[in-house]
């Protein structure tokens, strides 16, 4: 019973965090802040939701598989975001502050 209550809280929190991440994907001004919004909330939502689901199992093979998914997602998802941001940086994408800076330079 207590496990189910904890699991419910974790699931709802996870859902809330992933929703904020998705909103951030639209509301943040430049690409790097958007990556930040997406990847940070991705990690926390994954941890919360999968832990919430593990509490609902009988701690058998299903729980082990969920743990495997958690480890796998925690390894790959931030790596992918990091590599993407790095590649965007190499591709010449600027942050908002830098764009403002360069515009100021143009006006002078």
């Amino acid at each position: 019973m207590i496990l189910e209550v904890i699991s419910t809280i974790l699931l709802i929190l996870g859902a809330f965090f992933s929703l904020t991440g998705a909103i951030g994907l639209f509301r943040f001004p430049d690409f790097f802040t958007r990556v930040h919004a997406a990847s940070v909330t991705d990690s926390i939502a994954t941890i919360l939701i999968i832990t919430g689901l593990i509490l609902r199992t009988d701690f058998d093979l299903v729980a082990v598989k969920l743990l495997f998914i958690l480890i796998f997602l925690l390894l790959t998802s931030p790596t992918a975001s990091h590599a993407l941001a790095k590649s965007a940086r190499h591709g010449g994408l600027l942050t908002l502050a830098e764009i403002r800076e360069s515009k100021k330079g143009d006006n002078d």
């Binding site: 796998f72 390894l75 790959t76 790596t79 990091h82």
Partner: protein, 325 residues
């Protein structure tokens, strides 16, 4: 609930397909196609086709996207403006679509248990296969035993396709020098890839041998194992990957898998049964079926692994060659 999720996902798919029509940037088209495969695999999960979803996620979304990106790297990523009138194709499509929708009205309602599709052979598969074959996964039973001859044909098609691609593109030459890859500077990526690749191969083995009890089997396992080597080739460069899994070795493997499959059939032949009749492989028919299915799934896994990896090598070799020039 199932219908609601189904409707939402189908709606997403329709929007994605529409967007693909109007995009001129082929890179974006390929990305959206990957998304399309992902969403359709989700629909398959929702409609209870877990094995199909497994295959679509691994093959459709994974290998297809990688191959299409490889092609784009060789052919350029912008579609040129096209001065055809779009009117005639649109007319053809609308007429065909209207005819098909008119045709669906004669079809039985979606998901109804009394539909003709569920009346003839399906009840037998559902009721008898756990007793006759002794496996919980009916899809594996039907795939590898009842319709084994069909699957042999499909394995041969995959093998033939690999031969076709290799004769068109050629294999990478072993012992090439690694060109400096931009991913060299991605240190985090390299470390994580080293962790992920062994896990992937382990997972492929699990899928291969657990396919009798859960979703999975030779086709999926072969693709996942190939995906592990593809990941290695993408991060550490093609020459290192060809050093680990040699192209010539792959050619042997691809043929070997088909031979194992057909050889099982011939063995059952000599033991007094029909072609691919596993009942005669052991004194107890159910044990015989089990042996037969494990052996031929192994053959499928080997062929699919070798064929998919060989196809990737073909494309990657072309890309490396043009990059050097």
């Amino acid at each position: 609930m199932v219908e609601l999720i189904d409707l939402v996902l189908l709606g997403m798919l329709a929007i994605t397909a529409l967007r693909v029509i109007f995009l001129k940037d082929l890179f974006a088209v390929v990305m959206l196609f990957g998304l399309y495969s992902f969403l359709s695999a989700l629909i398959f999960v929702n409609l209870d086709a877990v094995d199909v979803a497994f295959t679509e996620a691994a093959v459709g979304a994974g290998i297809s996207t990688v191959l299409m990106l490889g092609t784009l790297a060789l052919t350029g990523r912008k579609e040129k403006a096209n001065n055809h009138t779009a009117l005639l194709p649109l007319l053809v499509v609308i007429i065909t679509g209207a005819a098909l929708i008119y045709g669906t009205l004669d079809m039985p309602p979606f998901g109804h248990p009394d539909n003709p599709a569920h009346q003839h052979v399906a009840p037998r598969y559902i009721e008898e296969s756990p007793k006759e074959i002794g496996l919980p996964n009916m899809v594996t039973s039907v795939l590898a035993s009842y319709r084994a001859f069909d699957t042999l044909g499909e394995t041969a098609v995959v093998f033939a396709a690999a031969i076709g691609v290799l004769s068109l593109l050629g294999m990478p030459k072993p012992g090439g020098v690694a060109i400096d890859s931009g991913l060299k500077s991605h240190l985090v990526l390299r470390v994580v890839a080293k962790l992920v690749i062994p896990m992937t191969i382990l997972f492929a083995l699990y899928v291969q041998f657990h396919g009798d009890y859960g979703p999975g089997g030779g086709f999926q396992a072969g693709v996942i194992a190939a995906a592990a080597v593809i990941l290695y080739a993408l991060v550490f460069g093609l020459p290192l990957a060809t050093h680990v899994v040699r192209p010539n070795f792959l050619k042997v493997l691809a043929a070997l898998g088909v031979l194992i499959y057909a050889g099982t059939g011939v063995t059952s032949f000599f033991l007094g049964g029909n072609f691919l009749d596993y009942n005669v492989l052991a004194s107890d028919p159910v044990v015989g079926q089990h042996i037969g299915i494990i052996v031929i799934e192994f053959g499928i896994g080997i062929t699919v692994f070798a064929a998919m990896l060989g196809i990737f090598y073909g494309f990657a070799a072309q890309a490396e060659r043009t990059n050097i020039q």
